[in-house]
Amino acid sequence: MINYIIYVITFILLGISFRKDKQKTKKALKKSWRAFNNILPEFLGVIMLVGVLLSIFNADVISRLIGKESGWIGIVASAVVGAITLIPGFVAFPTAALLLQNGAGYMQIGAFVSALMMVGIITIPVENRYFGKKLTILRNSFAFLFSFLVAYVIGKVVGGI
């Protein structure tokens, strides 16, 4: 839904730009294409990797890793799974809700959701192209560590531990 809204906004802006200055708009689109073309191999490679990893880390495996057994191992496992996988939110949140109903702890789910959103192991090749190795590694490491803090706070506030 939000994707379509962004499409509509983009087309409206493109229309305004075109009415104001055809040449400039053409130049903008050429720039867009070049910027896209530059990064396309990384994008495609990442998508292949996502395919491989998501078929290994399916909902079944995930729920086994961070299911009822829980504990700190469960929290670390859920952060690792979240860091590796690249699941769209509309799949991740219902999955997380389902895991909660099946006995996963709030800390595990907090770690999972946070790492899922902030850490992108699979997208490292893309991030690396834009930001270089050092920043990419540092950013992902801090985000990973931060997920444990998020897990702890969510466990305290929501889980009441």
């Binding site: 939000i2 994707n3 809204i5 962004i6 499409y7 906004i9 983009t10 802006l13 493109l14 730009s17 400039k24 708009t25 130049k27 903008a28 689109l29 050429k30 720039k31 867009s32 070049r34 910027a35 896209f36 530059n38 990064i39 191999p41 990384e42 495609l44 490679g45 990442v46 998508i47 292949m48 996502v50 395919g51 491989v52 998501l54 078929s55 769209p88 939110g89 509309f90 949140f93 809700a97 789910i109 907090g110 959701v113 946070s114 959103m117 902030m118 997208t123 893309v126 991030e127 834009y130 930001f131 270089g132 050092k134 540092l138 950013r139 801090f142 931060f146 803090l149 998020v150 929501v158």
Partner: protein, 178 residues
Amino acid sequence: MKIIKRYSFPLVGIFIITIITLFNRELGMKTFNTAIYGVKEMVLVIPPVFILLGLLDIWVPRETMVKYMGESSGLKGVILAIILGSAAAGPLYGAFPIAAIFMKKGVKFSNVLIFIGAWSTTKVPMFLFEMSALGVRFAVTRLLIDIPGIIIIAHILNLLLTKDEIEEIYKNAESILD
């Protein structure tokens, strides 16, 4: 030869999927289908990101971006970075090209990092979805800890990189756009 070298990463991916399919047909097909789904998602998310990037590059003067999000933009720049990141849709990889154009336009490095942090965690559409799936308490708690979190992480990262390294990242961002 040049094109094969350029596309070596996706080619390795195809190779891995082929190997998986040879050993386990079912798993291979599943992998293939997930990859197709990934391509579809990319097709849905990426075009507007790059079109907006082109339009921003052509129409928004550098001075404007520097004024609102540059070195001396202060709190205004931080808030703008959070709002822009939160208004986004799509996975984190969509944020990187936009971050690159921000750098080209002279946005302060810590604000670029805050923007990426906001894109990854405080996105409004995702927040609404999270509230309905995991409850208001869960979503609001996460939001409240994430906002200071991404600002602090941005500043730590900023401190850990030398001036030269940051300059190098800015130069690289410009070269990947043109």
